[in-house]
C-alpha cells in the first residue's frame, strides 16, 4: 500500500511484504511469470481490502461509491479495472493498493470543494497505477530491496517509511502532470489543482512540513508551485467543469461523517476552518458542528455558539447531538432545568447512543438537590 497524497498510518506489514516482494520480482520476470504475479497481486489486493472491511475502516455509501466511480472512469479513460473506495478516516489522504484499488479518506472529501478537485485526486492516483509507479519506485531503491530481504521486523519500518515517502518526488510530480492532462482532456477545470493544493498548503502543519521534507515526498507547497508554473497564479476562472453542486450532493453524508470523526477527536481548529470558510457546504448540520467546535476552542462567546447551534436546531430538530450540545451549553450557564429538558430530547431521539447511559445519569444528577 502506498500513500501518495499526504501521510497516513497503516499496519499491514505482512501483506505489504508479499506485495512488495512480488512488485520487485515483477521487474525481472518473464511475461508468463508477470501474469502469475499479477494474479498474486490481485489476490493480495483483495486480502488487504478484506482486512480494511473487517477492521471497520471502510465508509459505506453505495450512492457515493457509484458517484466516485463515475468520476474516476471519466478521468481514467474509462478503465474498468480501477475501483475507488472511501476510508472512514479524517486525515486528508488518498492512496492506491494492488489490483487497481484507490482509497480516498473521508478527511480528503471534507476538504475537496467540487468535482474537478475530486477528479484531480483520482486522476493522480490512477496515473500512479497506469504508469506502474510502485514497480519503478521500489526497483530504483536498493535500500528498500535490502530491507525487504531482511523481512519482518524491518518491514514494519519500511512500511511506515514507504507511506511517508509516497513514490518519491519525481514520480509524484509525474503523476501530477498526467493528472492535469487527464483533467483537461476530460473537460474539467484544470485550475482545480491550484484551488485544492492552495487550501491544503494553508492547512499543512509545520511539523508535517518538516517530516515531509525529510521523507523525500514533495511538499504540498512544492506541488502547488509546480502547478502554478503550468497554470499561472490565478485560481479562479478556468473553462472546464467544476460541478460543485453534484459533488456536494453526492458527498453530503460522507462529509458530515468526516466532521463527526473530527469532533470525536476534538479537532476544533480543523472543524472551524472547514465550516467557517463556507457553512452552506454542510447543510443544516453546519451550525451544530461549528458550535461544538467553538465551545471546545473556548474563544467564542456563549451567545455566538448558541446562535450557530440554533440554526441546526431550527433546520434539523430531530438531529439528536444538537440537543445534547444544547444541554451542555445550558449546564455551562447553570440552567439545570433547561439542560435536563435538552438531555431528555436527546435520549428520546437517540435512546441507543453510546453515551445514552451517561447522559441519563447526568440528567438525574442535575435534578437531584
Amino acid at each position: 500500500m502506498w500513500s501518495t497524497f499526504v501521510p497516513a498510518d497503516f499496519r499491514f506489514a505482512l501483506v505489504l511484504s508479499l506485495v512488495l516482494s512480488l512488485v520487485l520480482f515483477m521487474g525481472t520476470a518473464t511475461a508468463a511469470k508477470k501474469s502469475e504475479i499479477r494474479k498474486g497481486l490481485n489476490y493480495l489486493g483483495q486480502q488487504l481490502h478484506t482486512q480494511l472491511e473487517d477492521g471497520g475502516r471502510l465508509y459505506h455509501d453505495p450512492a457515493l461509491q457509484s458517484y466516485l466511480t463515475t468520476v474516476l472512469r471519466r478521468v481514467a479513460d474509462a478503465d474498468q479495472s480501477l475501483s475507488v473506495y472511501v476510508l472512514a478516516d479524517s486525515q486528508a489522504n488518498a492512496f492506491i493498493a494492488p489490483a487497481g484499488r484507490i482509497y480516498v479518506h473521508l478527511g480528503l472529501l471534507l476538504r475537496i470543494q467540487d468535482e474537478a478537485e475530486l477528479a484531480l485526486v483520482l486522476a493522480h492516483e490512477a496515473a500512479h497505477i497506469h504508469e506502474g509507479h510502485p514497480v519503478t519506485h521500489f526497483r530504483n531503491r536498493p535500500s528498500a530491496r535490502r530491507q525487504l530481504a531482511a523481512r519482518v521486523p524491518v518491514l514494519r519500518k519500511l512500511l511506515y517509511a514507504g507511506q511517508r515517502a509516497g513514490f518519491g518526488q519525481d514520480l509524484e510530480f509525474a503523476a501530477d502532470e498526467i493528472a492535469l492532462e487527464s483533467l483537461a482532456s476530460s473537460g474539467y477545470d484544470t485550475r482545480a489543482a491550484l484551488r485544492l493544493y492552495r487550501r491544503l498548503a494553508q492547512e499543512q502543519e509545520p511539523r508535517s512540513v518538516h517530516r515531509r521534507a525529510r521523507s523525500g515526498h514533495p511538499l504540498i507547497q512544492e506541488r502547488l508551485a509546480r502547478f502554478r508554473d503550468v497554470l499561472g497564479q490565478e485560481v479562479a476562472g478556468g473553462t472546464g467543469d467544476h460541478r460543485a453542486d453534484s459533488y456536494l450532493a453526492a458527498t453530503q453524508r460522507a462529509r458530515v461523517a468526516g466532521l463527526e470523526q473530527l469532533l470525536a477527536l476534538r479537532d476544533a481548529a480543523t472543524i472551524m476552518r472547514l465550516i467557517e470558510h463556507d457553512p452552506s457546504r454542510f447543510g443544516p448540520y453546519a451550525g451544530y458542528y461549528l458550535a461544538a467546535a467553538q465551545r471546545i476552542h473556548g474563544r467564542t462567546s456563549e451567545r455566538a455558539i448558541r446562535a450557530a447551534l440554533n440554526q441546526t436546531l431550527a433546520a434539523a430538530p430531530d438531529f439528536a447531538p444538537a440537543h445534547r450540545l444544547l444541554g451542555q451549553i445550558q449546564m455551562d450557564v447553570l440552567d439545570y432545568a433547561g439542560a435536563a429538558a435538552a438531555f431528555d430530547t436527546y435520549l428520546k431521539l437517540a435512546p441507543k447512543a453510546p453515551d445514552a447511559k451517561l447522559i441519563q445519569y447526568q440528567r438525574q444528577k442535575l435534578l437531584t438537590p
Binding site: Q51, R57, A264, M331, D355, K357, L358, K365
Partner: protein, 177 residues
Amino acid sequence: MITAFKIALLLTAATPSAGYVSMGNQWRVAVPEAWTVVGSDGNAFVLSRDGPGIQSIRGRCRSRQAPFAVFDEALSSDDSMVDHAQKISAGLLRSYAASAPKLEAVEPVQLGVRKAVPGLLFTLQFSNDKGVAQVLRSAFFMHRDAVCSLDFQAPGQYFVKRDRSAFAAVLSSLRRR
C-alpha cells in the same frame, strides 16, 4: 550477584499473587486469582493471566493537566461529567488511532465498594496490528490533581468473556492505600 537478583525479581514478578498492587502511589487493587503481576512500580502496574500480549489489566495515574500524550486538553474540575467523557474518549480514540477504534459505550461506573469512587467506563473495539479484534474497557476516575485509569484489553472472542469478571473484581477492589 546482579544476575541472581534479577532472576529472583523475575520469579517474584511471575509468581501468581492473591495480593494487592498499587497505582498512583495512593491506590491499590486486588490481583485476581490466577492473574500475575507482570510489572509494577508503585505508580503503574500490568496484570495478565495468559501473557500481556494476550490480555492485560493495566492501572496508572497521570496528571489531569496532561492525561494523554497524544492530546493536550486538561481535565478541569469545572468540567461536567459529559465534558470529561468527551475529552477522555477523544484521548482514547487518538491513542489508538492507527487501529481505527470505535467507541461502543461510555457509562458511569462506581469503583470500589465501601467508599465508592465515581468514574467513567469506556468500551472500545479495534483491531490490533495483527488484525485481531480487540476490546478495551477503560475505567477512569479523578482524584485531586490526578486522573487514574484501569484498562482491560483482550481479544474480542473468548478472553473478553472469560476475563470480564476478573476486571469487574479489580474495579470493585479499588481502595485508598
